[in-house]
Amino acid sequence: MIGLHGVGRQVKPGKALVLFAALCVSAALCRAAVGAEAFITDQSGDEVSVLDLGLKHVVARIPVTGKPAGIAMARDGRTAYVTSPEGKYVSVIDTASRQITAKIAIPDTPLGIAADPSGGFIYVAGFYQPRLYKIDLAAAAIVATVEVGASPSGVALSPDGALIVTADRDDDQISIIDAKSFTRKSTVKVGAHPFGVTIDAQGARAYAANVESNDVSVVDLKEAKLLGTVAVGKRPYAVALAKGRGFSTDQYGGTVSVFDLATLKPVKRISVGDYPEGIETSADGNSVYVVNWFSNEVWAINAETLAVTAKMPVGDGPRAFGTFLRETL
């Protein structure tokens, strides 16, 4: 995918298509050639921008009311789930047709959201109560509720879907929840005001971005123990992982702080747009996409060289808090 992306970048879209077709000699390559999209929640604009990451521009705008903020992409990329904190609902979006197919009411202000890999459930944090809700998508109804800490913000899920982690902002902790029994197994104290939380591909560690202490807490999920803390830029919002490194969006810093996951030492700070918030790594692990809330752009960073490779305008006030990337097949 990296090679194909490289080709796509240097030639006009028409030529790129021909090249893609020429390279489409195996299923894996064909899949890679199809491309990727980012579904960006534009909170101020009350819409979701669909950004074609190959063409590098917005190809569709989906009106979503209620100041959309959080998003979870289904593992198959066919459905996106968007929270509207001010509308108190989750919009279910069919990604291919760009249509809202359902709206699920939430009894509290929803922000963080995660989608179960089986496709059967979503998990939504209610910011004020504070609770995590398990929603059965077939029934479009809440089927279980668990108490978490104050002001739960980010919600992350282990890749096997067994563990859910919430960042309980005002309690300076994360909650670790068993997805099957939907009970809280433990809490772990982290830095001051954790907001975004990300679980690694092994399901072994959680990384919480602490807005007030300007650091990232690294938690061993099995032991429910704090492993370490990494200093990052000012007001970190969320973390992405790629190529053995962590990447935090530093809202006040206007930077992405890069740190080594093995040593937990800082690697570099990359200047990005204003108030970077949502951040996610591409499926191939080669690119990190950064959503800049104030400057209304998504920037791409090469995860290996750490160079900025694209700056793409989106709608007003983009947040994309959660998982927002999909491959288009």
Binding site: A69, Y128, G317
Partner: protein, 183 residues
């Protein structure tokens, strides 16, 4: 002068009876942003000179006194603005770039009666404009004054945007007058 602040103060008194929860870092779910800019007929260096001292906010109408310490050092410098109605606003500097002619600060403490916002941060920057002129851009990001759901109208998103916009607008107009008068 300081009509915005005074007006805010009057509105604020009316809502004190609601016994607001102490805001702290709590806030409504949706952050707001405001950008105001103005073209000033003076070279950027001259405009920057008028605003470059973090401890001199004399160019902002309604500010009668600025006290503080730490010079223009990010993460060290703090200032307290005293308004002509006696209210105060505590702020701290978190970014300062003389080369870029820009600095960023946040409000650490302000009563929502004075400015109906929470978790406010701001950047002011001087940019070169055509014909040797300058553009000053003042941007703010903040949450509304009421931290929970269902805010009263005086503390909702629109009220916050209106108040911040008015401060920026007046401030930039005043700065333009001051610089263009050569003072």
């Amino acid at each position: 002068m300081a009509g915005t602040f005074e007006k805010s103060l009057r509105i604020g008194i009316a809502i004190v009876a609601l016994a607001l929860p102490q805001a702290g870092w709590a806030h409504g779910p949706s952050r707001q942003k405001v950008t105001e800019s103005i073209v000033i007929d003076a070279p950027p260096a001259k405009v920057w000179a008028a605003i470059a001292d973090f401890h001199d906010m004399s160019w902002l109408p309604g500010i009668v006194k600025t006290t503080g310490a730490g010079g223009n050092e990010p993460d060290t410098a703090t200032r307290q603005l005293t308004l002509d109605n006696g209210a105060t606003i505590d702020e701290s500097l978190y970014k300062y770039d003389a080369g870029e002619m820009s600095y960023s600060y946040r409000i650490d403490n302000v009563d929502v009666k004075v400015l109906p916002v929470n978790n406010y941060s701001s950047t002011i920057a001087v940019l070169p404009a055509e014909g040797g002129k300058s553009t000053v851009e003042w941007r703010g990001a903040f949450y509304r004054g009421y931290p929970n759901n269902d805010p009263p109208p005086e503390l909702n998103d629109e009220a916050a945007i209106k108040a911040v916009t008015a401060v920026y607008h007046k401030g930039l107009e005043s700065l333009k007058k001051k610089v263009e008068a050569g003072k």
